[in-house]
Structure formats: structure tokens, C-alpha cells
Amino acid sequence: MPRWGMVIDLDRCTGCGACETACKSENNVATVSSDQADLGRATAWMRVMTEVEGEFPNTTMRFMPRPCMHCDNPPCVKVCPVAATYINDEGIVGQIYPRCIGCRYCANACPYTVKYFNWFAPEWPESERAHLNPDVSVRPKGVIEKCTFCHHRLQKAREDARAEGRELREADYQPACVDACPTGAIVFGDLDDPQHRVAELKHDARAMRLMEDLGTEPKVYYLTPRAGT
């Protein structure tokens, strides 16, 4: 059984935001008005966090793409009263929208703040409605949504592999953010399969996970910037 995970090399990230845009487009993530975004009601399953380090003029811009960590020990799953969020056998933390009652316990339990509440019914300009991804639902008002590691792509990839009578390969299943990253900063695969790059990268000397001390066992690893960069 695979255990899907991600390694993000912060030295390679240029903060271009391609991952963020690709994710929104792939997963029918709705936009909100700028005043609502200022209230923290904007949704981005993948978000490039920015931080300025040092004092002017000796400053460095730091970027950190932050998807759902798909924790092996997910705090959000523990607090869901209706089993709408759960972790599946392959380590993907799923959110079943028709089951979600919108209590937002999970959003509050998540230390990474990657669970988003739909404060409004999703809206798109007429010209964009035809471009919604039919493989992903459009979430209604009142439910929590989150990154799924593009699980629908895994399903499609498995289907293709089975139709061709072969095993699933590493390149077959890559989330939209990974596909879009122009510098190859995001690597995705089976953390337990030595053939996959992530299995090796997670043991890199620069590898770390966010808030490891909480015991959430996140499956997204970061490769910290080398000294002097």
C-alpha cells in the first residue's frame, strides 16, 4: 500500500505562484472578493507563504508553498463529529463534502490552517463556468474544503494503468501543483517506495517537517535553504 507524500525544496522555490494557480484551476477553487479575502475568507489549498528576512538593505525573500500536510496522525480527523474528514489507507486525508455539516472544528484543530470554510456559494464569471474541472466537485456554501493531493488524478492514473495492463508508475500520478512548478521544487510520490524520489529526499540532511513536535506526522517534507542562500 503506497503512502503518498511530498518534498518541497525551498532553495528551488522562486515564489512564482504557479502551484497556487494550477491548484485553484484544477480543483474548482472559488474566489472571493478582496474585502472578504482581507477577512481571511479566501481559499487556497496550496498557498505560497512569504516572509522577508533581515533588515533593509540586507534582506532575503523567503517562500514556502504550503499544501495540506496529509498528517499520518491528523488532528482534524479526530475532531470531526460526522466522519466527513478521514485518512484513507494510502495516507490521503479526505473530505467528504456531502457529509460535512460545516461545524469548522477541523479548521480550528488544524495547526497548519489548511482547512477552508466556504462562507459563500461559489461564483464564477459566466465565461469561466465552462472551464470547471468535471472530475472535481464544486463545493457548496457551508462546508469545509481542503487539498486532496489531487486524488482524482490518482484514480485516473490507476484506471489508465489498469487499462494498459501495467503497474502504476511514479510519473503517472502527480498533483497539479507539482506538474506546474517550473523549477521542480515540488516532488511527489510514495514515501515508502525506494524507487520514488521522495523516499530518498525525505532522508536528506536538509529535510524537516512543520511543527513536528506536535506529533501530527505530516507527509509533506521541506528541504530547508542552504546557508548563504
Binding site: 490521503i92 479526505g94 467528504i96 489498469r162 487499462a163
Partner: protein
């Protein structure tokens, strides 16, 4: 405000029957009657709406007598999520010219000549949050159509209601028997 149940009931009974105080409509009989009405309403409401089709398509004629494959009309059944329904273009392949002398065959050809789009209506409907793919079940798992659609291929007239009840219990029983995924995200997103 306090409500006196007995007074309310006798008034309701009076309004219903015009026989204020009719002995047989009191107590358990009335409750039973109301329960029966409620049951009938629930049963009627839970039944799917009848589905009408533009022409009286005969599955036996097409799939057995003429030995056409399902994918002749349901063109995406092996490749797509939705199997697809035939349209005027599909029917025109044969019915541009009149096939046989039955009244319906005459009607199809006339409709096509008039430029009718022949919009067939979906009979089997899944809830919006169910992500089902025909390709996965038909092309890859090699299931027979009848496994889910029942004896649709042996109908001579379009049924107005689905022949089987496709619900989550139905899906899960098969998935469990065939040791397939019962993971929530496999079907729900």
C-alpha cells in the same frame, strides 16, 4: 398560549368529515388513518418521477434482432465517465430511410426529416456527489450492463422508471464482494 390537544383534535376531525363527534373517527382509528396518509405521501414522494422519451425505443429490436452493440448508441460507455445517449445523428445512421412499417419507425423517420433533435432523457440518475465512471466498470472491470441496469436490454418500450435501485448499498455490496475499494473518496468528492 396553551393548546388543548383534545379540543384541537375534535375540531380537526370536524373539519375533515363534517361529522363532529363521529365516534368511529376517534382515538386510535384517527391516528391510524393519519399514519396511513403520511405513509402514502412518503412513498409517493420517494418514488422517482416517470421519465418520458421522444420515441418508443425498442431495445430488443436493436440489441437482439439487429445485434447492435450497446456502444453503437451509448458511444462513450467504454471510454468515458458517462455512457452517453443517442441523438438525431446516431439515429439517422439507419432511420434516415424508413426501417420497416411499424408506426413508430415511420414516426422516427418523419421526426428526423423535420430536424427533431431526438433528445433522449436519462433514466438512471446518481446523486450529484457520486463520481461514477462507466469506463472503470465496463471497459476495465468488464461488468455486464445488466449488473446495474437490470433487464434494460430486453425491454420493448422505454421504461419510465429505472429497473433497478442503484444506491450506495447496491454499490457497496458489489464492491465488497469483488474486493474493490470502499474508500469514501473513491466515489465521493
Amino acid at each position: 398560549m396553551t393548546v388543548r390537544w383534545s379540543a384541537l383534535r375534535s375540531r380537526a376531525v370536524g373539519a375533515f368529515t363534517g361529522l363532529r363527534g363521529a365516534g368511529w373517527l376517534r382515538g386510535p382509528t384517527l391516528l391510524g388513518l393519519l399514519a396511513l396518509v403520511a405513509l402514502v405521501v412518503v412513498v409517493l414522494a420517494s418514488r422517482s418521477r416517470p421519465v418520458a422519451q421522444p420515441v418508443a425505443f425498442n431495445h430488443v429490436k436493436h440489441t437482439q434482432d439487429l445485434e447492435l452493440g450497446c456502444e453503437f448508441c451509448h458511444q462513450n460507455v467504454n471510454t468515458g465517465a458517462r455512457a452517453g445517449l443517442p441523438n438525431a445523428e446516431t439515429c439517422s445512421a439507419c432511420h434516415q430511410e424508413q426501417q420497416g412499417n411499424s408506426a413508430e419507425a415511420v414516426r422516427v423517420t418523419t421526426l428526423l426529416a423535420k430536424g427533431d433533435p431526438l433528445r433522449f432523457n436519462k433514466l438512471f440518475r446518481l446523486a450529484d456527489h457520486v463520481y461514477f465512471a462507466h469506463r472503470r466498470h465496463v471497459e476495465i472491470a468488464k461488468l455486464e450492463c445488466s449488473q446495474c441496469h437490470g433487464a434494460i436490454a430486453t425491454t420493448r418500450r422505454p421504461p419510465s422508471r429505472p429497473l433497478t435501485r442503484v444506491n450506495m448499498k447496491f454499490c457497496l455490496s458489489c464492491h465488497q464482494a469483488k474486493k474493490q475499494s470502499v474508500d469514501c473518496v473513491a466515489c465521493h468528492r
